[in-house]
Amino acid sequence: MTAGLQNLKHVVVLMMENRSFDHMLGSLRAENPRINGLTGKEANLDTTNEPAPVKPQAQFQSQLDPDPNHHFPAVHQQIFDGGSIDKPTMGGFVKSYYAERKDVEHSRKIMYYFPKKKLPVITGLATNFAVFNGWFSSIPGPTLCNRAFAHYGTSFGQVSMNIFYYHKEPLSIYERLVNAGHSAKLYYFDQASSTMEVVNLLQNQPQLFGTYDQFLDDCKLGKLPQYSFVEPNYTDHEWDGGARIASDQHPDHDVQQGEVFIATVYNAIRQNPDLWKSTALLIAYDEHGGIYDHVPPPGCPKDGFTAPPDQTGVPGLTFEFDRLGVRVPAVLVSPWIPKGTVVPGPGEPNGRVFEHASIPATITKFFLGDYPKRTPREIQAATFLDLLSDKMRPDSDCPVFNF
């Protein structure tokens, strides 16, 4: 066991919304070719058969309006472009987005990505700590079934937004920990934003939840549970007479406010020296939100469920949960991680594949050890705490964020 793991007492996961790896981090390839981002030559054909290339012209807001479709049939088109499911081409993103507004010029914007300088927080963390070349959403589908994998290691056969499964095995990672005498909490932003785990955990076990203000206090006072899951603000709303801007980065919410939010989570941990040296922070996105990524999703172990054609929405297609969704940004932060770590992905030497089932798999392995009541998918999922090394970086070597 490394010194980093021996010192580890807390794991914090922050899950953002609906942005692909290439959209947020694709620009980093220019400065570090080990990061599997964009070369600038990637393109899709639009509906007039003209190439629509990637361009560093992504905007913080008002560009991806309407919200790009990211339900199962649309993602199927984005990945396979009408071809065989044996050959993911990643060639159908522009055509899929065209269906939203029937505007060829607008549909090409789904290929746009952010230049590094526009996203100093997520690119700063990715280049200062560990970035994953191969972290994929768990399902080629929308938010809730993907977030379910982060909580339960499965979506219980769902590929949509209809998730009702409380009191079924496997238990959520929070229940597993609490039942074994450990501590765990989901922190939602505030009650007006609340959680995506409404009809399951919030409805049945509200005591598992706290607010973001409590998270900040818990960081300050050294009261953070062993495992924390942080949710951003999902809505623009008033709170005590003031305006609270959504920070989830879901289109068409402002990406810069999400940057501010990520920075505050990082700073809260960073500013408590005891917490900083004993905490690993994972920042991941739930799914790609219909936005272009160039890496074909790989296969994965089945999790024991199937979704028939009436649930996938693709005629004749039964989904066996045997392949992953589109790649998303994921960054692991800890002073025990060497600066500039790039975790290779599929197709690279020593490549590893991660997905959201890797979250409960990692937490279970670290805090509970052997725990059999899980899906085969979670049991076989890659875990990520081996990235913590023996050497803790000095304070001066780890950035801070200023506002």
């Binding site: 913080f60 409805q203 709303h237």
Partner: protein, 117 residues
């Protein structure tokens, strides 16, 4: 106008007291960590009047809160007709009420865990 009298007084050069030499630091100078500036979003970013149908996620959230509300005791229900919710701000107002009520309800007692099928 009378000329100002020239001072005959010689300039006095006072020896400056020797600068106190800082003792040689036994500890290394701590280098400040690199600070990364985080820009704030534009003032136009905030729009609670954004139509709900523009965000499928919040739209489905409202449906889920509606479902959760049906499980609450009568006195904790909001009485809100979700069909009247048209904007993100209105949705968050409703979500806040139901979240508060779910906390007040204290949750449901643990049931027997079933094997998922």
């Amino acid at each position: 106008m009378a000329k100002a009298k020239k001072s005959t007084k010689a300039k006095v050069h006072r020896a400056k007291p020797p600068k106190a030499k800082a003792p040689k630091a036994k500890t290394r100078k701590t280098k400040a960590p690199k600070a990364i500036k985080v820009p704030k979003p534009a003032g136009t970013a905030y729009d609670p009047h954004r139509p709900l149908e523009k965000n499928q996620l919040i739209h489905s959230q409202v449906r889920h809160f509606q479902e959760a509300e049906t499980q609450l005791p009568e006195h904790l229900r909001t009485g809100v007709n979700v069909a009247d919710i048209k904007t993100e701000g209105q949705a968050s107002h409703y979500i806040r009420k139901v979240t508060k009520a779910l906390h007040e309800s204290g949750g449901r007692p643990a049931q027997k865990v079933e094997k998922a099928t």
